[in-house]
């Protein structure tokens, strides 16, 4: 059984859970994801791995309530157990296989949006612990929704916070912050990694290309099995069809057909057993979801 040993509310719609899953904890790497199924009649929900502790045998997931299945996950309490947790799935981040001297020359900038900030954390931690220079940009709609500020601050050289409404940090989008850092402040980066909503990753990739900065994105596509069996996750990368679950989830941001990916991501929106169509509901929820 996959028991929840710790649950915290990070903001009105985002929860962090530490779950017992010793085999996954022992084999996980930054960049990988897992699949949670709460009970027999639940969906298989892909979630990124936000942390893993091989000694304790636990993995950490961060989930945002955006539909019936994620609400179901978030309703679980400490001491309860998920029916299934499968992983680690997908390929580790490319830097995991880099030689030491290749790594040493890198200056990373991470661009994290919303709940996508959580999977950035293990990557930043991994690089920082190997002495690689890492800056992190975290963005959210408003101050209240920012997550992982303190955790991230401990593992990066510079942390830049931005909010769409200017309630905290830089007033503007993460892409504006990135341009500001490179063009105004003269920061030099060798690689960028963007994780967040698909539309954010699209614009982060466009910005990075303009700045001549290579960028990796992590695609949160639809999936059923997560092992290459169903093809629901297929994306076009560099004109070729790739399966995000086994060949990804990380791809070269320049090469991804984001418009297709966003369209495919919405395929089941009308079928999902929540009646409302999916819109980013953070704003709607922040006032009402308080317990």
């Amino acid at each position: 059984m996959f028991r929840i040993v710790k649950k915290e509310k990070l903001n009105p719609v985002v929860y962090r859970m530490e779950v017992e899953a010793p085999r996954i904890a022992a084999s996980a790497h930054p960049g990988q994801f897992l699949i949670v199924r709460t009970e027999e009649k639940g969906e298989r929900v892909p979630l990124t791995i936000s942390d893993y502790d091989p000694l304790k045998g636990t993995v950490t997931i961060v989930t945002q309530e955006i539909g019936a299945s994620t609400e179901d996950i978030c309703s679980f309490e400490e001491g309860q157990a998920f029916a299934d947790v499968v992983g680690p799935l997908g390929m580790p981040s490319d830097f995991v296989d880099m030689e030491e001297d290749e790594l040493a020359g890198q200056r990373y900038v991470f661009i994290a949006g919303g709940v996508g900030t959580a999977p950035v954390y293990p990557q930043v931690k991994w690089l920082h612990s190997r002495g690689v220079a890492v800056d992190v940009i975290i963005g959210a709609k408003t101050s209240e929704l920012l997550i992982y500020r303190e955790e991230m601050a401990g593992y990066c050289d510079n942390l830049y916070v931005c909010t769409d409404d200017g309630s905290e940090g830089f007033h503007g989008m993460v892409t504006g912050m990135l341009e500001n850092l490179v063009l105004e402040q003269g920061k030099r980066y060798t690689r960028a990694v963007a994780i967040g909503p698909m539309v954010m990753m699209k614009f982060a990739s466009l910005t990075a290309r303009r700045l001549g900065l290579p960028i990796v994105v992590s695609l949160n596509t639809l999936m059923v099995d997560g092992t290459g069996m169903c093809g629901a996750c297929r994306v076009t990368v560099g004109g070729k069809v790739r399966f995000a679950c086994v060949e990804g989830p990380e791809f070269d941001g320049y090469e991804v057909d984001f418009d297709e990916a966003m369209r495919r991501q919405g395929m089941y929106r009308q079928e999902e057993k929540t009646a409302e169509p999916h819109v980013c509901r953070i704003d709607l929820r922040s006032g009402t979801a308080q317990e």
Partner: protein, 464 residues
């Protein structure tokens, strides 16, 4: 000469009724039917049916038991060679195996061996007659990757020999293709698959779900860290193929694997499950195999008008005859000598139609089948809002890609000999992972042969 009894037909749900439900199509034999059918067996001195069975079930012996009404003994005879008789009685292509070589078939109808096997297995389960029990342990541990037909057959035989067997399954339920691939109306899950897998567990086999070999564990971690003496890879052929034509990534285009997994494993057809599934108004299924029939018949049951598009003629359909007839009776349309060239979408990126070209049969290809060639200028469009690609599957590269020294073939299959031995000592493989997509029973046969060679391998090491 005694008067020939005609083959006893198995009862079926009426096509009009069953096209609207997911209950099993075939209702099988009752006791009277079974005993009557069993009395048709000639008990050949040299039974060709046994040789044609990939797991060599002692067919005349079990049929003799059925004829005399000793169903428990019949079950015991079958259990010596097969761990999944209720499954095989339902999904084996008997017409090309045991029944295909039955001497009665030369002039008339062969003995309904499949129906009799099914009857015995169902009777045994309902009456709890012959129950499997664990054998004394020999102290050696063997890991089996994949809980489909190959893995279960291998695990059962090893457990009977006294091995401590752990089966690792990537999905949340054991059974492999029996669970995610074959629909409920052909193979009931709770009533048939689950009890047969429980029987494998009763032999002492442990099944661990949610473990993805190549990710959660590797072949090497099982051998080096988890203390297994040998590993059997029965991971199947799960990777779906697409055509590579324009428009295949439009919304509303699915692999048969996705469509079937959502419905079979994830029970999307039931309202009490969270799984979403698209129910098109007009569904086009591309392909002509059993999987295409399964997908089409599932779509039909979800309320879609369904057409199968296949590039050769009906004579070349790789699906079992019975499945084709069932699909037709239920109202699935068949459009033969037709090949898609492009899928067209609407302004929102959803499928609107599929453009196809008419085909005609040309010269025989390497497989001996006449290969279809396009008729120039014959392109036309079929209006559709859901396209399901059932073009076959290939082995998943996850394990081969994470196991050093494990050789694969050009087609991405794991290279293994007749006995399942791979290029790595102590690592064995069988079933679709080795052959590419084939049948349940061939995978079981491969699993059994691998179990025997794993036994020889471990004994050989012990002697050194």
């Amino acid at each position: 000469m005694a008067e020939r009894i005609p083959r006893v037909p198995a009862r079926e749900q009426d096509p009009k009724v069953r096209a609207t439900n997911f209950d099993e199509v075939c209702l099988g034999y009752d006791v009277k039917d079974a005993m009557r059918e069993a009395s048709r067996c000639l008990h050949c001195r040299n039974p060709r049916c046994v040789a044609s069975c990939p797991v060599n079930i002692k067919i005349p012996q079990f049929i003799a038991c059925v004829a005399s009404g000793d169903f428990a003994r019949a079950a015991a005879v079958i259990a010596e060679d097969s761990s999944l008789p209720a499954v095989c009685g339902r999904v084996c292509p008997q017409e090309t195996q045991c029944e295909g070589s039955c001497i009665l078939g030369v002039k008339g109808e062969p003995v309904a061996i499949g129906q009799l096997e099914r009857f015995v297995a169902d009777w045994n389960r309902e009456n709890m007659a012959v129950r499997p029990s664990p054998s004394p342990s020999n102290g050696y541990r063997v890991a089996v990757i994949g809980s489909g037909p190959a893995g279960l057959a291998c695990a059962s035989d090893l457990a009977k020999m006294g091995y401590d067997v752990t089966v690792f399954e990537a999905l949340h339920k054991p059974g492999g293709v029996l669970e995610y691939g074959i629909p409920e109306f052909r193979l009931p899950k709770e009533r048939v698959v689950k009890p047969e897998i429980d029987d494998v567990r009763s032999l002492g086999v442990k099944i661990v779900t949610d473990v993805v070999a190549g990710r959660t564990v590797t072949v090497d971690s099982l051998l080096d860290r988890e203390g297994f003496s040998a590993v059997f890879i029965g991971s199947g052929a799960g990777l779906p193929r697409f055509m590579g034509i324009p428009g295949e990534n439009l919304n509303g285009v699915f692999s048969a694997n996705e469509f079937l997994t959502r419905n079979n494993l994830m029970k999307a057809y039931r309202d009490d499950y969270m799984t979403p599934v698209i129910k098109g108004h007009r569904v086009v299924v591309v392909g002509g195999g059993n999987v295409a029939m399964d997908a089409a018949r599932t779509a039909l049951r979800l309320g879609s008008e369904t057409t199968i598009v296949y590039r050769r003629t009906e004579n070349e359909l790789p699906a079992r005859r019975e499945e084709v007839h069932h699909a037709k009776d239920e109202g699935v349309g068949f459009m033969m000598l037709t090949n898609p060239v492009e899928i067209l979408g609407d302004e929102r990126g959803w499928v609107r139609s599929i453009r196809c070209i008419r085909m005609e049969l040309g010269e025989p290809d390497a497989s001996g089948r006449r290969s279809p060639v396009p008729v120039p200028g014959s392109e036309f469009e079929i209006e559709t809002d859901e396209v399901i690609m059932a073009l076959g599957t290939s082995p998943n590269p996850l394990i081969a890609g994470t196991t050093a020294g494990l050789e694969t073939t050009r087609r991405g299959c794991i290279a293994a000999d007749e006995d399942g031995a791979t290029s790595r000592p102590g690592v064995f493989a069988g079933g679709d992972a080795v052959t590419g997509a084939a049948t349940v029973i061939l995978a079981m046969g491969a699993g059994r042969r691998a179990a025997a060679s794993i036994d020889r391998y471990i004994r050989g090491k012990e002697e050194k």
